[in-house]
Subunit: 491 residues, 2 copies
């Protein structure tokens, strides 16, 4: 038998070996981040008793540190989109989300999400999440003020814009300055408690408890140093986040993040929930994928620059989302990349003002020499770019006309986005395979009874680094957290 | 309880529910391909009783359809390498294999393999695998004649050659023409039977049997339509191959291969063994990675051409291994790529003589126009390439001098390697995480008692499409199959 002392996230405890349930409830939620809070609220709304176990000393999870955006649209637009004049059609929203999911997109998940995104917006408002309702044009990471609606992905950039009519879909919670995730989590965690979920903080989930038919019956939790068995009559919902803090898992699954020194996390994305799901036969999918970024704008003027690699070749349309641009950076030879700017557009990235200026010159030939690039290549690249940009065209990478201008005003500079000079922020996108009700699936697609997952413990809408857009993770986590809570409660 | 009728690769049977063992043995080997044959031989040598279950009507697996090469070297060279004048140092072999494993390389696995590669060569000879012992210079997919030693990877190409002294390490079994895997499998499967392993053909492994402590105790097999329980006192070794035949698994794990129409397989790479491993808590890793190829040479002259994408940019050193070149093709915009050749080097790829000639011209400007590329870009790319090639240099992609020559003899042509024109052959590289003794590991790195895996059911030395080299899969499968057989028997 697996004894209580032996069990671990990779080793479930047999229900037959539970001598006594210390706590009994309907729905157990592991993790009090955004997925957990939303799961708890909906499970309570469906009449279930809910106990939340959170390893940290406070609710919030990594969502509380985030920019606080939800990726929403379709059905003619949210009230905020409509007020700003964007009649966002569901089919464009679906098309965009599908492209954003990449070649491994989950079309059923996209469809369910898009179908309910407007309802979800109203639900968030109903829980007290504040949206000012104002539109902020331009390219930003997060609103500097307290505006709501912004362009937060690749909507307006090639090839997305050519396939789906673009609309801004990033809905930021109202807060002056960055980090509106804090406001969201204050509201949602308070709401979960208000509706009667019981939360245990400083409580680490150690293992699942399964019966002989591999139905999940509960969990083992360590609270105040004591092991407690918790029975979940209706289901366990794993909302424990991703695994960017777990070096061993990154080593095993995620070459791109193996050496990541700037994880985006509140500190507890240790993959424990993913391991628990795996321990009872759940499939862990797209474990190689990460959101990765060197946020190279704002200032927006830098988008008018051009990225080149060590061959002096352009390799991306610079008006794409910063996370997409970064994925392209990471695959260039030696990861050596520079952003070329002229004096008109020169600036320092807001989040990294100490950027290294790798070369300067009164001519591009000087810059080329200073970077040590093959003779004539950089000069050709800029000359060709400038010639087309003057016509409002970018035949190579299809950057949109708004960001095209000849780089012709000296002095010129090359800003370094090389690994040694500019850190990459990352979090993981891979996780447990789930159905649209949050049920954890085996490789064969069958649901594991009594087990649900949401948030970055699951592989959700965002599952392809090249397609990530700000707001996709909170949107997915909150919506599918709700789905899981409702379905577990109704089980 | 899980009943016998309910069990599946994703759902193990409980040992307590086995009323009766139909067959009892020491070591069960699932799959009679190369990993299975080698595992069986070694388990027998260690004194264990061995039963092999193979789903096909004959032994051989996908190895029997392969080119029949083993990737071997180090310790001053195999006898074949030495005879050809290559004193292959272990440190170069280790360095190369590590680079070939990519950012997720398993250094321990590499070390153990490199340490024993010469011994493994002699062991293969001892089993009757014939090596003629002659060296074939040049760039080939497989020997056309019956030579042994060839350049079968990226050894001589940048950046590999700059980090590890190159040596040819592909050791092909002796057979006139392609497909020497057949000879190898005839020898190894006959040998396994000769030493006393019992083989059951037309026998499908359905599920593992596990006890209460999740130790693997045996398997359920369907033989002649009947379900049989098989007890493995010492261990079960999963050698069932990869999952390129399983559309659902590709959909879940492997976006790159989702639409693969040319799987490299004998037809039974259905991932069943991987699923069995997952069903008892085994970690499945690097499931996104595939070997993919559009073999663009021979003729070797084509390596002197240059690949360009829809931006008219070069994107790879064309003297790299064809599988590596193909991985780079797959990530170009729209996957639109062409090989530019002049009249001196023109030829048709041996494996795809019906290649589409997308454009021709007396000048490169004509070819550029015919391909519809941005004005001046292709002309610049070729002009710069030619200028450097005349000096024996390739400052952009570091193709080696032997393959550098100006493309200056009209008429010129662009051969299409676009998806619609040239199919991609693929097999999967992801599989179960294993230790160097073949033991299947959980995410936390603990061994699952009684369960081993080898061959493409495991994630082995080849785990990165960009680094694959011919012979790495057979080398890994045979060597770690042996490891698993020996360790299971000694359990």
């Amino acid at each position: 038998m697996t004894t209580l002392a032996e069990c671990s996230p990779s080793r479930p405890l047999r229900a037959a070996d539970v001598a006594h349930w210390d706590i009994e409830t309907d729905v157990v939620v592991l993790g009090f981040g955004i997925a957990g809070a939303c799961a708890a609220i909906e499970a309570r709304a469906a009449g279930a008793a809910v106990e939340i176990f959170e390893v940290a000393a406070a609710a919030g999870g990594s969502a509380a540190l985030s920019g606080g955006e939800f990726y929403l649209g379709g059905h003619g637009g949210t009230p905020v989109q409509q007020a700003a004049g964007f009649a966002d059609r569901t089919e464009d929203f679906v098309k965009y989300l599908t492209m954003a999911g990449g070649p491994g997109a989950d079309e059923e998940r996209v469809r369910v999400y898009a179908e309910h995104a407007i309802e979800h917006y109203h639900w968030l408002v109903g829980q007290g999440v504040p949206f000012k309702g104002t539109y902020l044009p331009g390219k930003w990471l997060e609103p500097l003020g307290d505006d709501t609606l912004l362009w937060s992905g690749n909507e307006a950039a090639w090839p997305f814009a050519d396939a789906a009519k673009p609309a801004p879909r990033g809905h930021a919670a109202q807060m002056r300055g960055w980090g509106a995730g804090r406001v969201i989590m204050e509201k949602l965690s308070a709401r979960a408690l208000e509706v009667g979920a019981r939360a245990h903080l400083n409580s680490r989930a150690l293992a699942l408890v399964v019966d002989e038919r591999r139905r999940v019956q509960g969990v083992v939790v360590r609270i105040d140093g004591e092991l407690r068995t918790v029975r979940a009559a209706k289901g366990v919902i794993v909302c424990t986040g991703g695994f960017i803090c777990n070096r061993a898992m990154l080593e095993l699954y995620t070459p791109l993040a193996k050496t990541c020194e700037h994880p985006v996390t509140a500190g507890n994305d240790d993959g424990s929930g993913i391991r628990m799901g795996i321990s009872v036969g759940g499939a862990a999918i797209h474990m190689d994928q990460v959101f990765a970024t060197r946020p190279f704008f704002p200032p927006e003027s830098l988008v008018k620059g051009i990225f080149v690699n060590a061959c002096a070749q352009r390799f991306v349309n610079e008006d794409a989302y910063h996370g997409r641009v970064t994925q392209f950076m990471l695959r260039q030879p030696g990861e050596r990349v520079w952003l070329l700017v002229d004096n008109e557009i020169f600036g320092r990235p807001m989040v990294f003002p100490k950027i290294v200026i790798a070369a300067t010159g009164e001519t591009w030939a000087e810059v080329e020499t200073e970077l040590g690039l093959p003779a004539g290549e950089l000069v050709h690249t800029v000359e060709a770019y400038n010639r087309h940009a003057a016509q409002g065209e970018d035949p190579l990478w299809h950057k949109k006309p708004a960001f095209l201008k000849p780089l012709a005003t000296p002095p010129f500079a090359a800003l370094s986005y090389c690994p040694a000079d500019f850190p990459v922020n990352m979090f993981t996108l891979g996780g447990l395979a789930t159905g649209t009700s949050g049920e954890v699936l085996t490789v064969e697609g069958t649901a594991i009874e009594g087990l649900y997952a949401a948030g970055r413990a699951a592989c959700g809408l965002p599952r392809w680094g090249e397609g990530y857009s700000s707001g996709m993770s909170l949107g997915d986590s909150s919506f599918f957290g709700r789905q899981a809570g409702r379905h577990a409660a109704g089980h």
